[in-house]
């Protein structure tokens, strides 16, 4: 082989032979997949279990972390203590869980519904976009928790300020991702539909909605997580009418640390379950998208 260009990059490893051979995944495909899944499951369970064990040990021996952070048994509850706590059995926290779940579901439904609706309208119409984009973009940057005093003044101390705050937060996440999703539907798909003379509704039903659903669900999943965040935040600020946040705060004021830990775990669990449900609905609605229904991310 002759090279016409002087600027050649020579491989310093010199002459060698590349071999393309079957690997373990090809030689024993079934066993390989089985082993990989088993390893993944073991990690999913093992890592939290190991952390719990560490926590128990740290508590038992009152470890002194980095020399100045002492695990004092008076302030820290151990996993074992929490699970076996009598006080916990007396505390009626399922009411709080239900209160929080209800707030979250209603708030999320309102916010997501409005977000998808406005997002679709803005994605599809230049005029609607022109009318709402500057306003919403400005409001988007306002920390939503700052709206709480306002909502309390307007609605008073009932469920509405909490639900509204969740709805507003969810709205912005869903609105942005929906609008971006619609506008990102490739021109080729639109033109193909237009060549068949589709109506505006048909364009929406057959092209824009399915084309943007995967991205919309990415937004919904993020919003689901943020909804829990805001929910617990609000309940911590106004703990008077129950909820998981109020449970966490009660643990502190009543000097029952177990309660606080349980509250945190419940909040995590609520968020996990809720995002899983949103993801599962996404899979049902978007059978054509890859596993995680997040195109362009993997």
């Amino acid at each position: 082989m002759t090279n016409t260009d002087p600027n050649t990059t020579v491989d310093k490893r010199g002459p060698r032979v590349l071999r393309r051979e079957p690997g373990v995944a090809e030689i024993k495909p079934r066993a390989h997949v089985r082993n990989r899944k088993a390893a993944e499951r073991a990690l999913a369970i093992g890592v939290p279990a190991a952390l719990l064990l560490l926590w128990q040990l740290a508590h038992h021996y009152e470890w002194n972390l980095l020399g100045y952070w002492k695990i004092d048994q008076r302030f820290y509850a151990s996993p074992y203590e929490i699970v076996t706590s009598e006080k916990l059995r007396e505390a009626d926290f399922w009411r709080d869980v239900w209160t929080s779940t209800r707030r979250m579901l209603i708030g999320f439904a309102l916010g997501a519904g409005a977000g998808v609706f406005i997002g679709l309208a803005m994605g599809m119409s230049r005029l609607v976009r022109a009318a709402l984009d500057p306003l919403l973009t400005a409001l988007y940057t306002v920390p939503k928790l700052a709206l709480l005093p306002l909502f309390l003044t307007i609605f008073g101390f009932d469920e509405r300020p909490r639900v509204m705050l969740i709805a507003v937060t969810v709205f912005f996440f869903v609105w942005i991702s929906t609008m971006a999703a619609i506008m990102a539907v490739p021109e080729g798909y639109r033109e193909a539909a237009m060549s068949f003379g589709v109506s505006r509704w048909q364009m929406f039903r057959h092209v824009l909605l399915p084309g943007s659903l995967p991205q919309i669900f990415v937004g919904l999943r993020i919003a689901a997580g943020v909804a829990v965040l805001i929910l617990i935040g609000v309940e911590l600020v106004i703990p008077s009418q129950g909820g998981i946040g109020s449970l966490i705060e009660r643990g502190r004021t009543l000097l029952i640390p177990e309660l606080t830990y349980v509250g945190i775990a419940l909040a995590a669990l609520l968020g996990l379950l809720f995002t899983l449900v949103v993801r599962w609905i996404g899979r049902l609605l978007i059978p054509w998208a890859p596993e995680d229904n997040a195109p362009g991310q993997g």
């Binding site: 082989m1 002759t2 090279n3 016409t4 260009d5 600027n7 050649t8 990059t9 020579v10 491989d11 310093k12 490893r13 010199g14 002459p15 060698r16 032979v17 590349l18 071999r19 393309r20 051979e21 079957p22 690997g23 995944a25 090809e26 495909p29 079934r30 390989h32 997949v33 089985r34």
Partner: protein, 273 residues
Amino acid sequence: MTDTTRPKISARSVERVFAAETDNPVHALGPFDLDIADGEFCCIVGPSGCGKSTFLRIVAGLLRPSAGAVEVDLAGTSKTPIAMVFQDYGIYPWKTVEANVRFGLEVGGMSKRDAREKALFWLGRLGLTEFRNAYPDKLSGGMRQRVAIARALAVEPEILLMDEPFAALDAQLRQILQEELLALWEADKRTVLFITHSLEEAIVLGDRVLVMTARPGRMLESVQVPFDRPRTPELRAEPEFNEFKAGLWDHLKLQVEQYLNELRTVEEEGDER
């Protein structure tokens, strides 16, 4: 120096099965055997879905075979010994033409200045100089494919793998690019493995035409192309060309029918059991 009698690429009983861990495995390729000499321009033709891309990806190291092995003999004259040109995906819409061509050089560790100089050289050879600051989005299909070829050649690979690079182009443009590719190949005679579903394209370009069976792809026929080099695409106007093509075509038809008959008897035997 590498042993000149050794093939550049040698495939031995290469097979690939997809979804092998499930109850519906797809036997995509093989067993497939092939030797390609250093500097040979080898074209593979075969029905769609017969495993051509699968084989190319195995040679490139993007995919492992399920059985058998491919050996690639490298002389060590290039830092990126194997380069690939895909049918459509591959050049990045977020990079300018020049940045696309520089990409392979920069990830290979070349300094920005040298990479730029070399990229400009190859852009010139493919007639892309005036588009060097454009984004691929603004280019026609033929121009985009030129960018892909420039990017692959810029790293001066020992082996060039091309997977139906001209399939999406119109007939005239196809012919122009074939001509350009012939000229580029004449200049430094790299080993090329070129996949196409056009028998005509394979004959115009290749030293040898390999025909594969339907899935799972096996070697059906390997024919030496008798026409002298340097060639031009005008070759296809010659009577000898059409004679050769027609002969190959008849031959193939017979083979394909034979192959189908064999399949049928195998299936019937299977049914009787």
